[in-house]
């Protein structure tokens, strides 16, 4: 459905940056988990972050909506700098959607309630309007018929699509995906990736932590490779896969591509 060359030729348009990370460091107690991260993401840009486990890639995107706090450097999201200021954190979180590896749907609420909850309580949208909008997003991820079920009654792939609809219903400007297909059974990965590809085509700014290299080739403008808490290499997908520069990148690619 998507021509890989589109993304390839689609060298990043000169749009203004929406996320700017400058000299950012993070520690878990004594453990230096992110080291001197510098990253600029432009509006509409799609970035895939990969790397071995423990390389800090999840932590990096979790810093962008302040699920993790950084200790040094600056992170600015759409003009709002992330600091201790709770007001700023709220602003950023209402503009940044996040999809988790474990879906993290609210099991005590129906699918429709899951999706409509944040618009009602954060955006103060009237309930009827929020539910109508929630239904539209459920249709977009192709599960409107599950609206009145509880998450526990759905398959993993369906739950992840509900989670995507839940984030989209807040009308975010940026979407973060933290290994969205890693907890899925193999036959369900495609239905989630299809939704993500459709979202990419709509022009959403996306940061995706994933090992789905097919997805990276199809939609990413840039692939970022992280190891040991550092950004080792960042390149357009074709260059990244065909001409990796660093030895660590080559080793990682050989491990995930030849198995």
């Amino acid at each position: 459905m998507n021509n890989p060359d589109d993304a390839q030729n689609n060298s990043v348009e000169p749009a203004e940056p929406i996320i700017t990370i400058n000299g950012m460091h993070k520690w878990f107690d004594d453990f230096h988990v992110l080291k001197n991260i510098n990253l600029e993401v432009r509006r509409g840009e799609r970035i895939v972050i990969c790397g071995p486990s423990g390389s800090g890639k999840s932590t990096l995107i979790r810093c962008i909506n302040r699920l993790e706090e950084h200790q040094q450097g600056t992170i600015t999201v759409d003009g709002t700098e992330l600091t201790q200021d709770l007001k700023n954190i709220e602003i950023v979180r209402s503009e940044v959607g996040m999809v988790f590896q474990q879906f993290n749907l609210f099991p005590h609420l129906t699918v429709l309630e899951n999706v409509a909850l944040a618009p009602i309580w954060v955006r103060k949208m009237p309930r009827a309007e929020a539910e109508e909008s929630a239904m539209q997003y459920l249709e977009r991820v192709k599960i409107p018929e599950q609206a009145l079920k509880y998450p526990g009654q759905l398959s993993g792939g369906q739950q992840q699509r509900v989670a995507i609809a839940r984030s989209l219903c807040m009308n975010p400007r940026i979407m973060l995906f933290d290994e969205p297909t890693s907890a899925l059974d193999p036959e369900m990965i495609k239905e989630v990736l299809d939704v993500m590809i459709e979202l990419a085509e709509s022009g959403m700014t996306m940061l995706v932590v994933t090992h789905e290299m097919g997805f990276a080739t199809a939609v990413a403008h840039r692939v970022i490779f992280m190891d040991g808490g550092e950004i080792i290499e960042e390149k357009p997908p074709h260059e990244f896969f065909e001409n990796p520069e660093h030895d660590r990148t080559k080793l990682f690619l050989s491990q995930i591509l030849h198995h």
Partner: protein, 377 residues
């Protein structure tokens, strides 16, 4: 093996769903599996049957078939039996029934207790039933009930005041139980959240409170309520004994509720907090909409367990001289007309507590079932 041969008759992918072998299901299967599965099992089954046979019929004879329901005193009671004490003398309980319920509440004002009790039942129904029209107003009524109830019982504001020392019996037991349950749940939730707070001062205060209250026996707290509290209050101020007891019982049970709720909060995966955060919900909204509904659901068995404990522990107030159902009953045992009828009295009190606590336990079970929505996350 015979089964195996027949399965060979099906083409791959065409095997139908077969019923299980008859001997493993149905009442006969159940009896075989549960009562007669081994020699030891058979022995235990026979032993249990013999025990039931030798205990149940005599007990029923004493409590029901040979029991006397109306008599003027115990001699009269025994005179009506084939031999003295062959049956229970329920006439004793019947004769003292109004005292057991109302304590010394003034006769002409007892309608207020009845009204309060009916309102209590309505409040309970309003909270527990889901599909009531105007559920919101029922809940507001339930929130207001403790104050309406207190006004009806104690009086003032247009009603004749009734001193709290006149309260006794089941009325007093229910007042302590209902007050403790109503106020300890919100207080316990607040303490549990405080204990998990990121503000060190608040967290320390909650930990100290919870650990202190849990570390002291309830009786000690009640003695504190009845004697020491006056030292801490400004001189000349009077503070009703019942009020002090209610506060102590509430605090005591709140500390336990707090720990039960904390367990529920810890049972939630961190993903629930992160999902709520990532959607931009504030702390209070996340807790109200996402965290507490799930944590309280997990905590239902523990919360109800604490409530049942509180309800039964209310009898400890007899140690500081308050006449709840147990205290009043024991006082009635000294009545010369009814000496020696302790078994009847204690059975009656046991039955009263059992009915209250068993209904709470059943309700908690049905609530758990109702809130079940498939796999927890």
């Amino acid at each position: 093996m015979a089964q195996n041969h027949t399965t060979h008759g099906y083409a791959p992918g065409a095997h139908p769903d077969l019923p299980p072998p008859v001997r493993t299901t149905g009442p006969i299967g159940w009896i075989r599996a549960n009562l007669l599965s081994s020699p030891l099992n058979i022995t235990l089954t026979l032993l249990s049957a013999w025990l039931l046979w030798s205990i149940v019929p005599p007990a029923l004879n004493w409590a029901l078939f040979d029991a006397i329901w109306s008599a003027t005193d115990r001699k009269d009671c025994w005179a009506q039996m084939d031999e003295p004490r062959a049956g229970a003398c329920w006439a004793f309980i019947r004769g003292s029934f109004r005292l057991f319920i109302y304590g010394w509440y003034p006769e002409p004002e007892r309608w207020r207790v009845n009204v309060a009790f009916i309102l209590l039942l309505l409040a309970i129904v309003g909270v527990l039933r889901d599909n009531l029209p105007g559920k919101k107003y029922w809940l507001w009524f339930a929130v207001a009930f403790p104050f309406i109830g207190a006004w009806l019982i104690v009086g003032g504001f247009g009603l004749t005041p009734v001193g709290t020392q006149k309260l006794g019996g089941i009325l007093l037991t229910v007042i302590i139980g209902v007050t403790g349950i109503t106020f300890s749940l919100p207080l316990g939730i607040a303490l549990a959240l405080g204990r998990r707070s990121e503000l060190p001062a608040l967290r320390a205060a909650c930990v100290i409170f919870i650990e202190f209250i849990r570390g002291v026996p309830l009786i000690t707290l009640l003695f504190v309520a009845s004697t020491m509290l006056t030292y801490f209050l400004p001189p000349g101020s009077t503070f009703d004994l019942l009020m002090r007891v209610l506060i102590m019982v509430t605090l005591f049970s709140a500390a336990y509720i707090a720990e039960v709720v904390r367990g529920g909060l810890q049972g939630l995966s961190s993903g629930q907090y992160e999902a709520a955060d990532s959607l931009g919900l504030t702390y209070w909204k996340a807790h109200r909409l996402i965290i507490l509904p799930q944590a309280l659901k997990i905590s239902i068995p523990g919360i109800v367990n604490t409530f049942i404990g509180l309800y039964k522990d209310s009898v400890l107030v007899l140690i500081i001289g308050m006449m709840d159902i147990l205290g009043l009953g024991r006082a009635r045992l000294n009545d010369p007309d009814w000496l020696g009828l302790a078994p009847e009295l204690y059975l009656f009190i046991a039955l009263f507590f059992f009915l209250c606590c068993f209904s709470m336990a059943r309700y908690s079970l049905s609530l758990e079932k109702k809130l079940e929505t498939g796999h927890a996350q």
